[in-house]
Each structure stands twice: as C-alpha cells, then as structure tokens.
Symmetry: C2
Subunit: 133 residues, 2 copies
Amino acid sequence: MDLALLLPPGVTVTAAMKERCPLRDTLDRIGDRWTVIVVVLLRNGPMRFTALQRAAEGVSRRMLTHTLRNLERDGLVTRTVHASVPPKVEYELTPAGHALTEPLTGLLHWSVRHQETVLAARKAYDGGSAEGG
Amino acid sequence: MDLALLLPPGVTVTAAMKERCPLRDTLDRIGDRWTVIVVVLLRNGPMRFTALQRAAEGVSRRMLTHTLRNLERDGLVTRTVHASVPPKVEYELTPAGHALTEPLTGLLHWSVRHQETVLAARKAYDGGSAEGG
DNA sequence: CTGGATCCTACTCGATACTG
DNA sequence: CAGTATCGAGTAGGATCCAG
C-alpha cells in the first residue's frame, strides 16, 4: 500500500515500512478468527483461560491457546500462571495491547451501529441480483 | 461474545445482536486479505479499478473484484460505470464505508506506531523459546 | 483447569486463460 | 480497462485424544 497519503502528520514513512507494510503486517496478525474478539474481551482487565473460552462463544481450546500464544509472542498480552490446584492462568493486555483496543473498540461500535444497515443492503443486493432469473 | 459489558452508554443489546454477534459478523466480512486495505485506500475519494490494484500492491484482479463486490453488496462501496472507451469504473465509499474508515485508520496508525515494538517482542519471544535446544 | 499433538476438512486465495 | 471462469496449493481451524 501507498502509506504516504494516509499517515498522520509528523509520521515519516521509513524504509522498514516500505519493505514491510505495517498495516499488512497487523492484518496478518489480527486477521484470524479470534484475535480481535480476545483482545476486545480483555479490554476490561485480566481474564482466565476458561472465562475467555466461555465469553468468546465458539472458540475451541486449541484455537484459543493458539490465539493467546500469538498475542503473547507479539507482546500484546501477558500470561501469568498462579501455582495452585487446579491451575489458574490469567491473561492481561500489555500497554501495546491496550492501545490496540482503541481502534478495535471503534470497530465494535461501528459493527453495532451498522449491523442493520449492512444486513439490509446485503438483502437488497441479493434480491436485486437474483430478480428476473 | 458477551456484548453487554463493552457497548457504549445508551446502546442496548438487542435480540438480533445476541443471535448474531455484530462484531463476529463484521470480522467475517472485513477479515479477509484485502478488504481493509481497499477501504483504507478509498478513504481519500473515489478510485478506479486499476488504481486500486496498483495501490494495493499484490492483489490479483480476481481478488480485487471479489473484495469490491462484497463491499458493494454490504453497502459500503458504490460502483459507478462511465460509458466510455476504454471503460472506466470508479469505486467510492458510502457514508457507512466512510464511518468504517475511522477505526480502520486508527488500526493503521497503531500498526505504524507499534511495528517496531511488536517485531522486537516477537524476536525476543522466539529467541527465548528456542534457547537451550 | 489449562493446553499440547495429531488428524482432517473446508475454504481462501493466487495463477492462468479468456471476454467485451 | 475491467472484468469472468476454472483450477490447484496452502492453510486456518475444528474434532478428538492425551497430559500435567
């Protein structure tokens, strides 16, 4: 992508950005099925593994683990193991992770505000395209 | 997802939202490889098909067409054909599409600001995990 | 409760060739 | 210039079983 037009004032396009588009990078990282959901859920504070699984509704243990590992790897989430029986593991956003919740929360709000509009548009489009056939 | 905690004040959780999580819905829609890129690129005004293809860097005609069709279907983009030779087709964001650029632009800015941090965290994580083997 | 290993399916996406 | 049709590879992610 051509970044120069889109960046906020004061931000310069570095060589690294040209080589490796930051947005493309971020999308590759958060563009899977569960990452955004998990980050948004962690927005209000630390959560345990099982609590996340319940809240995310539909995620398998495998994918939740996978998602959390990637977030941890990228420094967006910390993992804290409490030595107890049964085990208790808490996940919490780092500052970078919290910063990410801002646009993602914006996305959530957009989703809520435009759900009906989008659904209606889709219905109209599908109806219109199919007509006459 | 449990939406009640996360919604802005004044927004009520409707039955539709419980049935069909709006965020999940949005992510299914924009979570593919090119949608976010295209929407961000259209942020400054209408663009032609080929201009988009050049700017997106790497998208195939097939995928660009597919992406634009979906955006059109959801009412986020309009498609205008100018009857000329050669053909000229312009794509432009609708108001809903423009509203979407706000969080997406936020995401872009986050990407730029945190690229180095994330890359460093990843490197550290990978190095740390691999050590001793 | 947390999470690793394996297997398997479905779907996404890109390459290529063709059209108006 | 702006698409469409077809095909094949790669991979995301779910099901299941095992373990500390």
